[in-house]
Symmetry: C2
Subunit: 348 residues, 2 copies
């Protein structure tokens, strides 16, 4: 259908690619039947799987390539030498206007490097950021940056706050999302220079953001704010720390239920409620990291996810297009950049 959304897929990226990617796209089609897919990958591997997924086969067009980005490839190397990789071609499809967004479960660094070069950074954004959803006590929050920028200055953090704000308005549908800056304490004087200075600028009201000030690590799971802003070093470690703790917790819980006959019986009774909890905490439900600040929609899926998780990442790309994220972020950036430079730096 011509009015449907087209998503370009790097079919060869991910631990269990291409089968996982194709099955994921098929699940995504169930939820968004209008979607069309441009598949980039090796036809010898893809065609047999596609043969078993007639619904997807009807909505997809396969572009054969034998090249792919290896998991251990350096970003610079993937960028320089990989003009014909499945990842590169999928990103090119967005730049050329053939697709509305790209999803890949491949090498994160390479995906960011290629997307930055091909899709370009939006005017007013110095560095794109990686954002993702976190389950919280109140529902879910968005956190960024999760690893694109190991070192960030105050200006980067302010831009992340702006992008996170627009994302929460458009994709989460919040009228006035709350934004917090991750720090080691809530007082104005806490933290390093970048965080303190970004905090001062956001408090000064140069942006339309509903800024709540500094938040601490325990505020993430508490859902204290809708958008959590941090540098890529801290964000990456916080994200993976949460993944590790969640895994330890669910393993320990499973072990507890195997602990005795009584516990096994208890599990049988509580199974329904526990499955609901497991579904809410399921990391696959939060799969799909958004690259924000680029001139196109690019979503990174966890490399080790399954088809269900990949379908969620595809859903994120579709949501961003459906809700006009790119158009809205352009408007906000233009508005911010109209503020005279003197006023922008006065809060420093």
């Amino acid at each position: 259908m011509s009015d449907g959304i087209t998503i370009a897929l790097d079919v060869m990226g991910g631990d269990r690619a291409p089968a996982m990617v194709l099955r994921g796209a098929d699940i995504a089609l169930e939820r968004h039947p209008e979607t069309r897919f441009l598949l980039f990958g090796n036809e010898t591997q893809v065609t047999p799987i596609l043969g078993k997924l007639p619904r997807l086969a009807k909505s997809a067009r396969l572009h054969h390539t034998e090249e792919l980005v290896l998991d251990d490839a350096k970003p610079s190397q993937a960028l320089r030498t990989g003009q014909r990789t499945s990842m590169r071609l999928a990103i090119d499809a967005v730049a050329d206007g053939h697709a509305d967004g790209v999803v890949s479960a491949g090498n994160t660094g390479a995906l960011m490097a290629i997307a930055k070069t091909v899709l370009k950074t939006l005017p007013g954004i110095d560095r794109p950021a990686i954002a993702a959803f976190f389950p919280t006590r109140r529902g879910e929050s968005v956190m960024l940056d999760l690893g694109a920028n190991v070192e960030c200055d105050a200006e980067n953090l302010v831009q992340f706050a702006l992008m996170g704000d627009v994302f929460a308005r458009t994709v989460l549908g919040l009228a006035q999302p709350t934004v917090g800056l991750l720090n080691v304490g809530s007082e104005d004087l806490k933290g390093n220079d970048a965080v303190r200075s970004a905090g001062a600028r956001l408090r000064s009201g140069i942006t339309p953001i509903n800024f709540q000030g500094f938040i601490e690590g325990d505020d993430i799971a508490a859902g204290a704010v809708d958008v959590i802003v941090t540098d890529g070093f801290t964000g990456n470690i916080a994200l993976k720390t949460v993944e590790g703790v969640a895994k330890l917790f669910s393993e320990s819980l499973r072990a507890s239920f195997r602990h005795s006959l009584m516990a096994r019986i208890g599990y049988l009774f509580a199974r329904g409620a526990l499955k609901k909890l497991a579904a809410r905490m399921d990391p696959r439900g939060y799969n799909g990291a958004m690259f924000l600040g680029l001139g196109g929609i690019a979503v990174k899926s966890h490399g080790s996810t399954d088809a269900f998780g990949f379908a969620n990442a595809v859903g994120v790309a579709i949501d961003m297009k459906l809700n006009g994220f790119l158009e809205k972020i352009r408007v906000e950036l233009a508005r911010l950049n109209q503020v005279p430079e003197t006023q922008r730096t006065a809060a420093l």
Copy 2:
């Protein structure tokens, strides 16, 4: 008893002080009956509680003071003006040789500032660090720094690694503890300058540490290493993020068991196993952050803990003294400082 250990307590520090502190000391006495306590606090408040704790009253000596460090006091202010606060007097008791260690649940920044000034930093250590235990899949790990130093250079991180190593040898009793540096990836080139440079120095073998290289956030709960080294900004956020996720998880689990009659019945059967799990994950069991790198033993208890948690913090101070942490760290630092400066910086 003259051969027992003496612990100085800031009786006025903590959300539920002084009752929580005194009851905690009483619980600690159960486990370590030889311990003697020097109590610093307001006798009008302390004496009635002490009257109900005859065992503690017999092993403790109360030093009256009406001053205390407020929770929102700035460290510099507490240091300058608080010569007679319960916190200051308790730390002075260690410096004067009247006590073997100090425990406080009060203002962390003030405690670190006063402890640094009064107890002094050990020769060879530029900045003390805060360390604490984390429950992991394999048992428990030590992590530092958890917030004493918001910005750290490579030298600081190397010193933290050394202190964590000695701590794990002495207090955890590990013959050859494994040490990892927290980073956003495991490859040598990942991370910021400080982490990369500290990694290069630790890999070069200038210390006797069993260095395992970079670890990521999910390795914390997995127990990938015995000692996790990081800067105070990242460490503080990781620690509090874990606390937040653990709290969300246990709340959600409780809610699940209240979800339906079936789930309630299930809980009754599984209760024994679940209580064991809860006990293992109980943050009170890991209460007690150690200030490492000082010329005396100082332990910070969580301000919101209860008597059971405070008793654990007292136990940590006793363990450090019993296992000769200070003597061993001095030996290791002297050995490290004998390495010629050229060799120390060659790895940079």
